[in-house]
Symmetry: C4
Subunit: 251 residues, 4 copies
C-alpha cells in the first residue's frame, strides 16, 4: 500500500515543465535557491506531497492555525516552458520511504509532460570557501554537453548524491527523463548563502530568467564573517590531523 | 495491509460526539485530564484500539488475569452532544504507525458523525510554573474565534505538536473535521497535576460540564513541593548556561 | 503481504492439542523446560515456522549441512490430548513482526483444534533464588481456578510479559482460546536450570506426565555454585543502592 | 508490494547456469573473486537488481554521469553450463529486505533453469593467516560428496553465514536448488587478497576454468606486509586476554 500522496490544490495544465528540486540538503544550498526562486518569480502553490513517512507532527504558526507536515510544488508559468519548483522543510530518512516519495514525484512530473529534472544541492568539502564552484552530475552525456557551457563543472566530484537530489535523477532516468544535479561547493557545516548566490547566477543563465539575489545579500555578509572566524580558528588550532582541521566531521 | 483495528465492545449510536484525546504526552497533562473526565463523568468503555505497532507485550494484573496492550474509547452520553474520550498508556513510536493509528481513529470518529476534535497536551517550557497558561492551536480560524473566549491563548506557541495530539488535527482537517489542541503550560520534566487542574477548569467551561478536581488536589500539592525544590536547586546552582538552567533538556 | 509461513513436514491429525511455548526468554527457563520435554517425551517435529523477520542467516552444522533459521513444532501424541511444543533459538525483535509470527501460530493451533495455550517463561527478580516460586498469569478466571491448585501463584507478579509468552495469550484470547503463562522465579542474569526443574515438577502434575529431570541436574549444581558466588559478591560489595544490590540491571 | 525488481538488459537464453554470488562480506573475499572472474572471463552484464531497500543515493562517476545503486548479474557463456555471476557494492541491512532481495534472485535463477548455487565468503578467525584454508557448507550431502575432493573442508566451521551467502542457499534449497558456500579463511579485519587467491585456485578446478590471478598479486604482497605488521603488534602487546589478542573484535 502506498503511503505517499500528491494532492493537487488546483488543476493547471503545465507547459513542458522543468522540475527544480530544492529540499533540505548539505549547506541548505538547494533550499535557499529554490525558496528565493519561488519568492522572486512569484510561484504559485499547485500541489502538496503528504507521506506517512514524514515526521508525525504538525507545526504551530503565529496565526494559531496548524500547518501540516508536507512538501510542496510551486508553479512559475513561462512561454518557453514552465518551472515546477519542489520545496519543503523535510526529507524522509529511510531508503524505502525515499524511494516511494521520489517515485511519486516522478510519476506526477511524467504525467504533467515533464521535460527535464534539475536537482539542487551542496557539495561539502569541509573547507571554508569564498569562490565556490558549481559542480554537476547528469543522467547522460547529452545533458552534460548542453549545460557545461554555463559554468557547471561535470565529473569533478566523487562519492554519492544522497536523497531526493540523487534519487530523482535515478528514478527519472528509468522513465526516460533527462536530468542533472547542480551542486554548490560548500563547507557543509553551515547554511551557505554564498554558494546559493553563485548557483543562482548560473541557474539564471541556464533557464534564461532574471533573479535578484538581494534577499540573500544580508546572509552572504553574515556568512563572510562566519568564514573568517572559521579560518582564524583553523590558524590558531594546533594541527592534530587533516580531518579535524577541515572540519569535515560536521557533515 | 492495515495492522490497526478498532474493535467495538458495544454497539451504541453516538449523538454528535466530540472526540477528546488524552494519550501520554509532555507532562502527562492530557492523560491526567482525560482519565479524570472518565472517572468523574462515569464514561463507559465502548471500543478498543489494537495495533501491531503497539509494544508486543501484555500487562499482569492483581487479579492474575492479563490485560492486552491497547488504547480505549470511553463514552459519556449527553443531550447536547456525546463525549468520546480516547485514553491509554501508550502511543506508537514511528511516523508510519502514528499515521496509521490516527487515521483509523479519524475513520471511526467520522463514521460516528463526529463534530469536533479536542486533543490535550502539555507545552513544555523547561521552567517550573505555578500559574500555567492554557495555549491552543487550531485547524482553522472559526475554531479560534469560538474557543478563545474560554481563556485559551492561540498563536503564542512555537514548534511542533508531536503524535496523536497533532496528527488527529491534521488528518481530521482533511476529512473536514474541525479541531483544536489545548496545551497546558508545563515544565515538561515531571507529571504536572497543576497544569492538568487548570486545563480542567477551561474544559469545563468549553464543554459545559462539571468536574471535581478533588482527586488531583493531592497530586497538585505534591507538585508544589517538587516545584519549590526545583527552584531552590536553580538558585543554588552556579549559572552555566541558559539551557541548563531551565532544565529544558528533560523534555 | 504476510512474511511468515508455517510449513507442515508431516500431515498429522491432532487430538485436542495443548500448545506449550518454550522460546528463548528470561533465564531461558521456558526453553530449558520445553527442550527437555521434547527430549524426554520423544516429540516428533511436525512443522516449521519461517519468517522474513528472523535473522537473515543460516547456521553451520558439524555435518557440513546448513540449518535454516526457524522455529519448530514438536508433537507428543497422548490419549488424553496431544502436546504441541513450540521451540527455537530465536524470537523476532520488533512489535510488528512479533504480532505477525504469533498470529500465525494461533491460526495454525486453532485450525488443529487447539484447547489450551501454556507459555513458559522466567520472572526476573534480580535476586539469587534457591527455592523458586512458580508464578502464573491467565487469560480468564476459569484458568486460574483450574490451575492454581498445582502450586502456581497467580496475581503475585507485576509488569509486562514480553514476546511470544505474552502475545500468544493475548491473541489466543481473541480466538476464544484459554491460556496461561507459567513463570519460574529467577535471577534473570543467567540460564536458570533450578527454576526450570521446579517448573517441570509443576507441569508434570498439570499435564499428568512423567518427566525425568536428570539431564538438568548437572546444570542445577552448576547453578548452585554460581548462586553462591553471586551472594558472596553481594555481601562484600558496599551497599550503594537497592537497585544495584539485587543486580536487577542485568535483565 | 514487492520493492525489489530484476531488470533484464538483454534477453539471453541461459544454458544450465551455475550462480556465483560475490557480494561484499567478510574480508571482501567473495567480492574480490567474483570481480576477477568477470574481468578474466569477460562476463557480460545481462541484468540489474534494483531495490527500495538499497541506500537512497546515486554514485558520481568521472564521466559526470551518475550510476544507480544496484547489484548486477554478469554472464559467462560455456558449453558445459553458463556461469551467472552476481556482484555489487552493497547488500541490504535488514532481515526483511535480505529475504526479499534473495528470494527475487532465486526466482530469477530458477526461471533460467539454474543448476547450482555457489556463494563466496570469508570465514573470519581474527588471526592473521598465511596459508588460508577453504571451508564449505552445503545444502545437502550430495553436494558435499561432489565437491569435497577439490580441497574444500566441510563441517569445520561454526556459527552463522550472514546475508546473501547464507540466505541464497536456504531459499534455494526450498526450491530444490542444490548449493554450497565456499569460505576463505581470513583475519576478517582487512580486505584479504590472499584468501581470494586460494579460493580462485579451488574454484578453477571445481568449474574447470582457467583464471589468471595476476591482478590479485599486487594486493597479495600488500596483504603480506599488513600481516607482518599485525603479527609484530601482537608480539609486542602484553597479553591481556585471548579475545583481544586475536583481534576478533574487528569482525
Amino acid at each position: 500500500m502506498n503511503k505517499t500522496t500528491i494532492k493537487e490544490i488546483k488543476k493547471v495544465k503545465l507547459n513542458k515543465p522543468i522540475l527544480i528540486e530544492g529540499l533540505p540538503g548539505i549547506g541548505l544550498v538547494g533550499k535557499l535557491v529554490a525558496d528565493l526562486m519561488i519568492d522572486e518569480l512569484k510561484g504559485e502553490r499547485i500541489a502538496d506531497i503528504y507521506s506517512d513517512y514524514f515526521p508525525h507532527q504538525v507545526i504551530m504558526r503565529k496565526s494559531g492555525i496548524i500547518k501540516d507536515t508536507k512538501n510542496e510544488f510551486y508553479l512559475v508559468k513561462r512561454k518557453q516552458g514552465d518551472l515546477l519548483i519542489l520545496v519543503g522543510n523535510i526529507q524522509t530518512l529511510t531508503s524505502e520511504s525515499q524511494y516511494e516519495v521520489n517515485r511519486e514525484i516522478i510519476k506526477y512530473f511524467k504525467k504533467n509532460k515533464g521535460q527535464l529534472i534539475i536537482t539542487l544541492g551542496g557539495y561539502g568539502t569541509g573547507n571554508p570557501i569564498e569562490q565556490p564552484k558549481i559542480f554537476g552530475a547528469a543522467t547522460d552525456k547529452n545533458v552534460i554537453d548542453t549545460y557545461s557551457k554555463f559554468g557547471i563543472e561535470f565529473g569533478k566530484t566523487r562519492g554519492a548524491i544522497i536523497g531526493a537530489a540523487g534519487l530523482l535523477l535515478s528514478l527519472g532516468r528509468i522513465e526516460k527523463l533527462p536530468g542533472l544535479c547542480i551542486m554548490g561547493e560548500t563547507h557543509g557545516g553551515y547554511v551557505d548563502a554564498n554558494a546559493a548566490k553563485k548557483m543562482i547566477e548560473i541557474l539564471s543563465k541556464m533557464l534564461d530568467i532574471k533573479l535578484s539575489t538581494k534577499k540573500l545579500d544580508k546572509k552572504v555578509s553574515e556568512n563572510k564573517k562566519l568564514l573568517e572566524k572559521l579560518r582564524e580558528q583553523m590558524e590558531k588550532q594546533p594541527i592534530s590531523g587533516g580531518e579535524d582541521l577541515n572540519l569535515s566531521y560536521i557533515r
